[in-house]
């Protein structure tokens, strides 16, 4: 059985879903960030798989490069926010950050 596109897409799906679940369940801010990374990686896997198995070509890989770069930037900023949150609330529990409720 050859490795087909669908297989890679399945892997990407798993990564994506676990990223979502991670975002939805983790109370630690860093945990949420990890979920974000997982989601982005799932998307990357999709992109590169398509670039290999379809006439998408090198465009898929360039796009995934961009995704990686932007994910890094976003992680930096999110971390800055999380640290700021931690400084203000003395805890990293995101459930404590509900001042915007109501």
């Amino acid at each position: 059985m050859d490795v087909e596109l669908n297989h890679y897409l399945f892997v990407g799906a798993v990564l994506f879903v676990s990223g979502i679940v991670c975002m939805a369940t983790k109370r630690n801010a860093i945990g949420v960030l990890m979920g974000v990374e997982l989601v982005l990686n799932g998307a990357n896997v999709n992109f590169v798989a398509f670039s290999r198995y379809t006439p998408l070509g090198i465009d898929g890989q360039i796009v995934s490069l961009f995704v990686i770069v932007l994910a890094a930037a976003e992680a930096a900023v999110a971390l800055a926010i999380a640290l700021s949150f931690y400084n203000n609330h003395l805890t990293i529990d995101v459930d404590r950050g509900d001042e915007l409720q109501g």
Partner: protein, 205 residues
């Protein structure tokens, strides 16, 4: 079982296991470790997909940069050794249910699509026809093409084409934008995380 298939299974299982490990583990450090495994395995998948530059970039930047950053963050925001933050089981159950649903949704969709027909419809070419310029034997030789594409020229598309077709667009503009973006993020993150007096738990400000 060919080597490709074996490697694929290996890397896929590692990725999925790492991802699941991130989800399941309660300790954030363990989560980080699982994430390292997941992202590393993803890089391996990339190598299998003939995306050598991307895989390398993944290892370098994602694993070596972003994850390290995350670990820094973990260490900076560490709570006491005996404080555990747990999610309620209801939330876990609900999240798991939703997750499975989404998974089924995606997988079901993926299974349903006829990639051959979709390719012909979208691009006019069959899947089997590899894109022009795609260097099949040059595994691990995508760096040059990517670099040229980022500068703005696309030899993989334009080389050998008739002159009337014109030049394809490159990715110069997004490259520049992302560069500026990174600058902005740099400054912003630096500002956001500037040194501030730490608020005491019994602060009276």
């Amino acid at each position: 079982m060919t080597g490709e298939r074996f490697l694929f299974l290996l890397f896929a299982l590692a990725t999925c296991g790492g991802a699941l490990g991130v989800v399941i583990s309660q300790n954030v450090v363990r989560m980080a470790f699982s994430l390292v495994i997941a992202l590393g395995s993803t890089s391996g998948l990339f190598f299998l997909l003939h995306a050598d530059f991307v895989a390398a970039t993944q290892l370098l930047i994602y694993v070596g940069g972003t994850l390290v950053l995350l670990i820094f963050g973990i260490m900076l925001t560490a709570s006491g050794p005996y404080v555990r933050i747990k999610t309620s089981p209801a939330d876990l159950f609900l999240a798991a249910g939703v997750g499975f649903l989404v998974l089924f949704m995606i997988v079901g969709t993926v299974m349903d699509v006829d990639w051959e027909q979709a390719s012909i419809k979208l691009t006019g070419r069959a899947i089997a026809e590899k894109p022009i310029g795609y260097n099949e034997l040059g595994q691990g030789n995508t760096a040059r093409t990517i670099a040229l594409g980022l500068i703005g020229s696309r030899p993989d598309k334009d080389l050998g084409q008739p002159a009337e077709k014109g030049l394809s667009t490159g990715y110069l503009l997004p490259f520049e934008i992302v560069s500026v973006h990174l600058l902005v993020v740099l400054i912003g993150a630096a500002y956001l995380a500037r040194a501030r007096r730490r608020v005491d738990s019994s602060a009276d400000s």
